[in-house]
Amino acid sequence: MSIGYSDNKIEILKLVDIEKNYGSVQALKNINCEIYKNEIVGLVGDNGAGKTTLIKIIAGNISPSAGKLFLNGKEITFRSPMEAKKYGIETVYQDLSLCENLDSAANLFIGREIYKKFLGINILQKREMEKRALQIMSKIGINVPSMKEKVEYLSGGQRQSVALGRFVEWGENLILLDEPTAALGVQETKKVLDLVLKVRKEKLVSMILISHNLQQIFEIVDRIIVLRHGEIAGIKIKNETNPDEIVSLITGADLINKPVVGL
């Protein structure tokens, strides 16, 4: 169920010649791609191919060694994840970024706590955050017993839903999901995928989804970007490709934009 790729697509994000080096190790090279409005893009590749590095650059956690990023046509540089958030980029990290010592409501609102000023002092509005948290979690549909339960006592699926709750509530332009169903069972995985589709439809956001599960990818994405050894091995529209082709791109078919060594 993908969207057709006509020319009147609005470009949300554009990466031009993005590179990332760690000393002599080249994690990413020659990254050129666009993400369009309201599409879901699957980012696949073997371990070490550079998927998480690329996501972290878009999320603002790390800066590229070279290259440019364009958001809605304007060139931008993120100096921190918070700046990316200001542009409406929300990330679900692979490790979930949860604080075990706090409850679900507190975790949902990390960095965006609701507070009121009273006599010059900022006072946390815990009840309001709890109420909003319940609303957010009910949208997701995975039952969390109490918003006041410390996250360390929650199951894997419940924790995942807290991490997902953040993007359901605050994702605006672009949502980055790094292996959102890695630790989940079959039923919970289906719920997450349904949620992803629902949010895409309701908010018209774009999403980049990293996953090792090709079946999952083929179920919900519109396009697939394949990374291999830090370079783009191929960009395919889902309806015009198949899992076998993707696997061969992941493992070692020719690169589509292999640089021509001019003579």
Binding site: P81, S97, N101, I110, L124
Partner: protein, 326 residues
């Protein structure tokens, strides 16, 4: 998916362990009331509260720092230096500066000095990324040394009544400084539990990466926590000078261990992310009660040291045991 039975039992056990300090405190008081002569009378209770003020205020500082998963060993030395400096500024003694400065002006000055020391601590920890234990160990040594230098090896005594008033004037038999301590506990309890600042402290202690990912200014908060620690330590030091009518080079010696014992037994985790000032208050009271009892029983001060040490050990083992339950 509900949590398993064993996890539920663990939860109950951890809940008990987190509040065990109150259980021990009440047990101790009950036992002492019946077995130690001279324990259960208003004057002795006032005495206990009296002696809990200094460790109590230092414990607030240490609690904040520990929750962020750092540690401040310099609290004792900042207090000692503040006590000595205050005495030097205000005392009517040949060993003093001769300034006979206003005590409250001096309080402001030592608070600024404490803040600056906290800033220095913060700088080495945040910018130079040196372990907090090592940094504050160094400032601990340096400022104790500076204090000794300032006293010239002698004691500085002879403070004015207005300086000492807060320790001498009693309301319902309890010195004003005890009320000050209680007010500080209420204020900082509120800060820790009900302000974004307090919430961010728990977030940094719980998962620093998550704090970074969601835009919390970790560096700024670490600076603020260490500066707060410095200021509170300075206040404690000023009060110590007021109580002792001056200061000698060895003032506040050994307070650091009492502070650590009090916060750990009060439920603050040494690995960050957990702690409550209510528990800390109980821990402070417990240590004060123990000291008081040993005093009444005329137990040798050396034995007292051993017993205090055992309590620190007990508190640390308790902390580790709590972690094992996860």
């Amino acid at each position: 998916m509900d949590i398993s039975r064993s996890q539920q039992n663990n939860k109950i056990l951890r809940g008990i362990l987190n509040n065990v300090v109150w259980i021990i405190l009440i047990l101790f008081i009950v036992v002492c009331t019946f077995t130690v002569k001279g324990f259960s009378n208003p004057k002795n209770y006032a005495n206990i509260l009296d002696h809990s003020v200094f460790i109590g205020i230092l414990a607030i500082a240490e609690c904040f720092v520990l929750i962020t998963n750092h540690m401040d060993l310099s609290v004792e030395s900042i207090a000692a230096f503040s006590a000595i400096f205050s005495a030097w500024m205000c005392a009517q003694s040949p060993a003093a500066s001769g300034l006979m400065a206003n005590p409250f002006l001096t309080l402001m000055i030592v608070m600024i000095i404490g803040a600056l020391i906290g800033l220095i601590n913060g700088f080495f920890i945040v910018k130079l990324k040196i372990n907090a234990f090592l940094v504050t160990l160094s400032t601990y040594i340096i400022f104790r040394g500076l204090g000794v230098l300032l006293t010239g090896g002698k004691g500085i005594a002879g403070l004015s009544y207005s300086f000492r008033a807060i320790t001498l004037i009693r309301l319902f038999g309890i010195p004003l400084m005890v009320y000050l301590m209680i007010i500080l506990y209420i204020v900082f309890y509120f800060v820790l539990e009900h302000t974004p600042f307090g919430r961010h402290i728990f977030i940094i202690g719980g998962n620093e990466t998550a704090a970074y990912n969601f835009g919390i200014n970790i560096n700024k908060l670490i600076y603020q926590v260490f500066i707060l620690s410095g200021v509170l330590s300075a206040i404690a030091g000023w009060l110590i000078a007021a109580k002792s009518n001056g200061a000698a080079a060895s003032i506040a010696n050994g307070y650091l261990f009492d502070v650590i014992a009090a916060v750990v037994i009060g439920g603050v985790s040494l690995s960050g992310g957990f702690g409550s000032l209510i528990g800390v208050f109980a821990g402070v009271l417990l240590l004060a009660v123990i000291s008081n009892t040993l005093n009444i029983l005329a137990i040798s001060p050396f034995m007292t040291q051993v017993i205090r040490g055992l309590f620190v050990l007990f508190a640390i083992v308790l902390d580790s045991f709590k972690k094992l339950l996860k």
